[in-house]
């Protein structure tokens, strides 16, 4: 088969790509990975602050941890188990867990240690998830003290109940809706200007950071949201007026503009790191969230809030695009700028409006995403490829397509954790993107046109 023929059979290539990338993932799934379910692991999470409380004072140079297992849906701690720490085979110290399951073994400084848990000393009902993991041979201590985790409890992989699946799909929908809110702007900007804006991710981060700064200064969270959105909208407007409009006037090539957006993205992201610090921070509204059962779904109140806000905003956007003169004008410009201009639409003004919308929506997406994880200087950049995947999946430049694509990407990304190792979560989303480009480059809702 010569090359042109090969080109005409994209399915052959698709199969090759899929096999090439999925192979390690299926291997991992076949090995079973090991480990209790994420939800159970989260219930057993142990922080340094809790360890200091349990120790009744600072930990000092030490290796510490807590033996915890979920038994019959109840979190229980293993008392009286023996943990020994060695360095190069020489015993450094040992500790027996207290009633709270906590052990703290004092060490003589940084280095590489071996940590052993004696499985015989575990109380009745407790067991290691993986017997081989009772001996950790390569525990590195770099910062004085280090937590070690011994996973306890049955491997509950493959024993999920219906609620687990339902909850995962709901979390996927939550992520998808956040992606949709953030991606609509990316798609609209592409539609009206043709720019693939790599700095869109930084609009997402900017909104989240602006809302955090307000929230941190004492403004209640519900009021910080509009502040963040306004900051994002203003920034979007400034982006267009100060950078992109002058470049369009100079008739800069789209490829060159793409490179400029990459420069802008790099500059902003690292600027955020300098100004905001490298650590992740949390909104006041992020604390005190516990999961509750709503029908088959186990969600936090914040999850409901996020889903509600996104649905309202997306419905509002649809109405704006469908029912108003402004929306009609935006769609006209996206369809054909020259024709729109000759019909009396002020194209430049419409582009500005689109940038304001894009900035505001991206900021809102960032704030909502920040509620589910930490607010961090690179949080938008982490989302960027998922955003692109959503936009391309739906059809570049098509706002409804972006929403649809985002939902698919969000749900695929979350539910893929059920079938392949969670480490491959992002990979699956990106793979969907590549596969779609192979079989339907115009996206689900995009119009067929001649590419290249």
């Amino acid at each position: 088969m010569d090359l042109p023929q090969l080109l005409r059979s994209p399915r052959v290539l698709l199969l090759l790509v899929a096999l090439g990338v999925l192979w390690p993932a299926t291997q991992a799934a076949a090995q079973g990975g090991g480990g209790v379910s994420d939800a159970e692991a989260a219930r057993c999470a142990f922080t340094k602050a809790e360890a200091i409380d349990a120790n009744g004072g600072p930990l000092g140079p030490s290796i510490w941890g807590r033996l915890c297992q979920v038994i019959d849906g109840e979190v229980r701690y293993a008392e009286g188990a023996e943990v020994t720490v060695l360095r190069d085979g020489e015993e450094v110290g040992s500790d027996t867990t207290d009633a709270g399951g906590v052990f703290v073994v004092t060490i003589d400084g940084n280095g590489t240690f071996q940590v052993r848990l004696d499985p015989e000393t575990l109380p009745k009902d407790f067991s290691l998830t993986d017997e081989a993991r009772a001996r950790l041979d390569n525990v590195r201590v770099n910062l004085g003290d280090q937590q070690v985790v011994f996973r306890l409890g049955e491997d509950s992989r493959g024993q999920r109940d219906f609620a687990d699946y339902a909850t995962t799909v709901a979390k996927g929908a939550r992520l998808g809706l956040i992606l949709a809110v953030a991606a609509v702007g990316l798609s609209l900007v592409y539609g009206v200007t043709g720019l693939t804006n790599f700095a869109h991710a930084e609009l997402v981060t900017l909104g989240a950071i602006a809302a955090y700064v307000a929230n941190d200064a004492g403004v209640p969270f519900w009021l910080s949201v509009p502040i963040g959105v306004a900051a994002g909208a203003l920034f979007g407007f400034g982006n267009d007026r100060l950078l992109w409009r002058p470049l369009r006037r100079r008739r800069m090539a789209l490829l060159s503009m793409m490179v400029v957006s990459i420069g802008l993205s790099t500059a902003l992201r690292n600027g955020f790191q300098v100004a905001f610090g490298p650590a992740g921070k949390r909104y006041t509204a992020s604390s005190g969230q516990t999961e509750r059962a709503y029908g088959p779904f186990r969600l936090t109140p914040n999850d409901l809030l996020i889903i509600g806000v996104c649905v309202v905003v997306l419905v509002g956007m649809t109405l704006l695009l469908r029912k108003t003169r402004l929306g009609t004008a935006i769609r006209a410009v996206a369809d054909n700028p020259d024709l729109a201009a000759s019909s009396g639409i002020a194209v430049d003004r419409i582009v500005s409006v689109v940038w304001v919308l894009a900035g505001g929506l991206a900021a809102l997406g960032g704030i909502l995403y920040g509620l589910t994880i930490n607010v961090k200087f690179d949080m938008g950049f982490i989302l960027l490829l998922s955003l692109f995947a959503a936009v391309v999946l739906g059809g570049l430049g098509n706002a409804y397509g972006a929403v649809l694509g985002a939902l698919v990407i969000g749900i695929v990304q979350e539910t893929s954790g059920l079938f392949v190792d969670t480490a491959y979560k992002f990979v699956v989303a990106l793979l969907v993107l590549i596969v779609v480009l192979l079989v339907r480059p115009q996206g689900i809702l995009g119009q067929r046109e001649r590419f290249g």
């Binding site: 090539a253 600027g271 300098v274 990979v427 590419f451």
Partner: protein, 325 residues
């Protein structure tokens, strides 16, 4: 630290291994982006497979030649796999697919289940001992240089001589290629793809050849970075590295033979000098902060270059990248 030593250290980085490896990697990107107008935003993916090819060879106890062969084979495979479906599409699709696939490669290399092959997040170490990269080093041990700051030890000299040697070979190859009829077709595709197609050229095949060859050169650079460092870990192969290479290509002059070389040297000199000055003026600045400031400056530099001097140092305004579309 005196001003003189700041500049001496910056010069050392610029003409040392850092500059050489960036010149090599950027040469590949220059062929794709500068000469053919391909928006490969995942060049780091090619570097990654080159580096991991070497690391996996070391891990299995194979020789350095197997390492090069693995990396090159992987780069060719990656280039064909990405190129055949996407080079038919518009440039922005190629950009998104390449950046996504580079990220996929990094995440897969980093994932725990990949540990048997890639070492997961820890990566693979002990390359120089196993592969004997430094064994043919004929330079006697000791320090060579002027003054206290501008000094190379014999290992540094070896890796930099080796890499600059490779840069010279690749540069000659590219010089010969781009002045051949083949190179003229590449440039015509960059300027106007439809015109090239109308003249009966199979545009996709030419683009594919340029894409694969550029990626192969990137893989060589990745392999050398792995050899010099003696270890490979996934944290290094982030998208920012691709963007830095774009800065190098555009700074030197996209679509010029010596552009990547000049760009790499100037890039590292400026970056390192800025770092030295920052740390001198602002004593309590952390490495994280100065790293971020450096990258922010790189981003601003890339924007300004693209807007105000897209032809870079060596290019001519007449022959700008990617035509005027």
């Amino acid at each position: 630290m005196s001003w003189l030593s700041i500049f001496a250290l910056a010069l050392q980085t610029a003409i040392g291994f850092q500059g050489a490896s960036f010149a090599l990697a950027a040469s590949g990107l220059n062929l794709q982006f500068g000469y053919t107008g391909l928006s490969n935003f995942g060049h780091v993916g090619f570097l990654l497979v080159g580096a991991y090819g070497m690391a996996i060879a070391a891990d299995r106890g194979w020789s350095i030649w197997v390492g090069f062969a693995l990396g090159i084979a992987a780069a060719v495979a990656l280039g064909l796999l990405l190129g055949i479906p996407t080079l038919r599409l518009r440039g922005d699709y190629l950009a998104i697919v390449t950046i996504a696939s580079a990220e996929i490669l990094r995440l897969v290399a980093n994932a725990r289940p990949s540990e048997p092959l890639t070492g997961g997040s820890r990566g693979i170490g002990g390359l120089s001992g196993t592969l004997g990269f430094f064994d043919p080093n004929f330079i006697p041990a000791g320090n060579y240089g002027i003054g206290e700051s501008f000094v190379f030890n014999s290992r540094q000299l070896w890796s930099m001589l080796f890499t600059w040697g490779l840069v010279v070979l690749v540069t000659i190859l590219i010089w010969a290629l781009v002045r051949s009829p083949w190179g003229r077709v590449l440039r015509s595709i960059r300027e106007d793809e439809d015109a090239a197609r109308a003249l009966g050229k199979n545009v996709v095949v030419f683009k594919l050849q340029s894409f694969v060859l550029g990626g192969l050169i990137g893989a060589l650079a990745g392999a050398l970075i792995a050899l010099e460092a003696g270890s490979v870990s996934p944290t290094r192969w982030v998208a920012t590295l691709t963007f830095a290479l774009y800065t190098v290509v555009i700074l030197g002059g996209a679509g010029t033979v010596l552009g990547p070389v000049v760009g790499a040297v100037v890039y590292w000199f400026i970056l390192d000098a800025v770092d030295g000055i920052l740390k001198n003026l602002w004593f309590d600045i952390s490495d994280t902060t100065s790293g971020a400031i450096r990258l922010a400056m790189m981003g601003i530099g890339l924007m300004l270059l693209m807007i105000f001097r897209p032809q870079g140092i060596l290019g001519s305004k007449k022959e700008m990248i990617a035509g005027a579309r």
